[in-house]
Symmetry: C2
Subunit: 306 residues, 2 copies
C-alpha cells in the first residue's frame, strides 16, 4: 500500500514542502512507494512555492483509513492530525516541535525530533550522502521550507545548521536568497482574499494555560497593514471562532517580518491582561506592539500567562 | 547543573549500559557535564557487565527534582520513569520501543527512536565518526547491550545493524563473541538469590488488553530449570504481586535462550485461555511451551488476546 506523507492541518511551506521532499526521498532514493498529501489547502506562501518550483500539488485528504501506512512530518500533535491517526500504521515521525504526547504506535518506529528551525533541515541530515542526489526542485522546496520557518533567519528558532544549509542550497541553485525570500513573504502577505475566520485559523495552534484554552494565531507578513486595516472586523469575529473551535479566546499576533516585531490585537480585558502579564508591556488601545517577538514556539507560547 | 542520564526502573544491560555510553559521549566528546544513574538495582547480567568492563557503578536515584536536566534512554514510557519526570527538563530521548504517549516536553528537544534491537546501536549511529573515539570499556558496554537485547542475535528484534556492529566491536576488542555472550547469559540466569516476587518483577512491563491489565514478565535464561523448579511457589505469589501492583494477572514467560522457546506458567483458567487464544496452543498442565517465542515486544505483546 502507498505510504501517505503529511504534515499538520494548516499546511504552510514547511508542512507542504517537507512532505514533498520526503516522498521524493522514499521513492527515488529508497525505492519505496510514497505520496505526499495535504490535510487542507496550502497557504498562499506554500501555494507560491508549489508554482515556483513546479512541484506536484499534493491531493488533499480528510482522514486516514485504519492500517494506512503514514509518515507524519512537522508535527507530533494528534489534534493537528486526522481523527483516525492512532489507528493508522504510523511508520515514522519527523518533526521539530515539542513532544505533546497523545500519539501512540503499535510497534517501535523511526522517530526523529530535533530542536532545529525546520523539518526539512532534519530531513537533509537524515539523508546523509544521499542528499547529493536531490534534483533542483527538491532543493528549491528545502530552501523554501527553511526560509519560511526561519523568516529568512530572523526568527530566534534559527540554528547555524538551518542557515548554512539554506545558504548552500541557494548557491547551488544560483538563487539570490534575499530576493527569493522577499517573493515568498510577499506571497504569504497576500491574504486579502481570506475571510476573517480564515485569517484567524490560517496559522494557529491551540494552547491551554491552566484552565484557559487559547487559539494562538500568527500572521507572518511583510505587509502588516493588510490585516491591521481590518482589525475591527477580525476582533469582532474572534468570539464566533472561539465558540466554534471550543476555546476561550483567540490571540492574534500580526508578525512584521521586516521590522521584527509582533502586533497583538486586544479585543477585551482578558487579552489586555494576558498581554501585560505575558510580555511585560502596558496596553492602552486595542493593539499592542511587542518588539522582537517573531516566534510562537520560542517567544509567545513559553511566556503565555493568564 | 549535571545532566542525569537514565533508563527504565528495571535496569537491565541495555538500560544500564546505554546510560553509561551516553554519559561518556556527552562528557568526553561533547564536553558536557553528564552522569549515568539508575532507577533501581541492576539485574545480575547488568551487574556482571559492570564488573567485567570495570564500569563505574551508577548511583541509584528514586526521583528527579523539577527542572533537573535529564536524558532518557531505552524507554519513552512515563510509567517506567520517576514520578516527577514531566516536570524535569527533558533534554533528549533515545529509545527503541513503541511510542506510548504521556511524556511531554517544555520545548522542542532531540528525540531519536529507531526500530533497532538495542538503544546502544542507535547511539553508535548518533555518534557518527566520533564513535571511533570510544575506549574499550565503552565498546564493551555497547557490545554487551547488543548481545543482551538480541539474545546473541536469536531474538526476532535483531537487525543487520545490531549484528554487524556487535561483530565489529567483538573483533576490535579481540573477544570471542559466543563465549562472552555465554558468560553474560550465565550471569543473567543466576537468579537463585531472588524471591519469587523479585523474579516476577525483574523484567516486567504492564500491558492492558481491553479492560484486563497484565504484568507481562520475562525471564531470559540459559538455565530454565532454575525458575521452573520453583514454579509452584512462583505461581502462588502471582496473586499478591498482581494485587500490590494494581494489575489483574501476572504472565510469567521463562525464555530459554539456547532452545529458543518460552515456557509460560499457567496458574489459572484466565492464563490458560489467554495462552490458547494468543499463541494457538492447547494447554493441559500448569505450563505450556511456546516454540520460537523469544521477544515480548515482537511476539508476546502484539499477540496477547483475552
Amino acid at each position: 500500500m502507498t505510504t501517505l506523507i503529511f504534515g499538520h492541518k494548516s499546511p504552510d511551506t514547511d508542512s507542504t514542502g517537507s512532505a514533498i521532499i520526503w516522498a521524493w526521498y522514499l521513492n527515488e532514493v529508497k525505492g519505496g512507494d510514497a505520496e505526499a498529501v495535504l490535510l487542507g489547502e496550502p497557504n498562499t506562501e506554500a501555494a507560491f512555492v508549489l508554482r515556483r518550483w513546479d512541484l506536484p500539488k499534493p491531493r488533499i485528504i480528510s482522514d486516514v483509513e485504519p492500517g494506512q501506512p503514514v509518515v507524519i512530518v512537522d508535527t507530533n500533535n494528534p489534534a493537528e492530525l486526522p481523527e483516525g491517526i492512532n489507528s493508522a500504521d504510523i511508520q515514522a515521525i519527523i518533526d521539530h516541535h515539542k513532544l505533546v504526547g497523545g500519539l501512540e504506535t503499535a510497534g517501535p518506529i523511526s522517530i526523529t525530533i530535533r530542536p532545529l528551525a525546520c523539518t526539512a533541515t532534519i530531513m537533509h541530515n537524515l539523508m546523509g550522502p544521499n542528499a547529493a542526489k536531490m534534483p533542483d526542485w527538491v532543493k528549491g522546496a528545502m530552501l523554501s521550507c527553511i526560509l519560511s520557518d526561519t523568516l529568512e533567519f530572523r526568527s530566534p528558532t534559527t540554528t547555524d545548521q538551518d542557515r548554512e544549509l539554506a545558504e548552500r542550497l541557494a548557491a547551488e541553485l544560483g538563487l539570490d536568497l534575499a530576493a527569493y525570500a522577499a517573493e515568498m513573504f510577499a506571497a504569504k502577505s497576500d491574504v486579502s482574499a481570506f475571510s476573517d475566520a480564515e485569517l484567524i485559523r490560517m496559522d494557529s495552534k491551540e494552547y491551554a494555560v491552566g484552565e484557559t484554552k487559547f487559539r494562538v494565531s500568527v500572521l507572518e507578513t511583510t505587509a502588516p497593514e493588510i490585516p491591521l486595516d481590518r482589525k475591527d472586523s477580525l476582533m469582532a469575529s474572534m468570539g464566533d471562532v472561539a465558540a466554534e473551535d471550543g476555546v476561550d479566546q483567540v490571540l492574534l499576533f500580526v508578525v512584521d517580518i521586516l521590522r521584527e516585531e509582533a502586533t497583538l490585537l486586544v479585543p477585551n480585558a482578558l487579552v489586555k491582561s494576558v498581554a501585560e502579564k505575558s510580555f511585560g508591556v502596558a496596553v492602552s488601545g486595542d493593539t499592542v506592539v511587542l518588539p522582537g517577538v517573531m516566534s510562537r514556539k520560542k517567544q509567545i507560547i513559553p511566556n503565555l500567562t493568564v
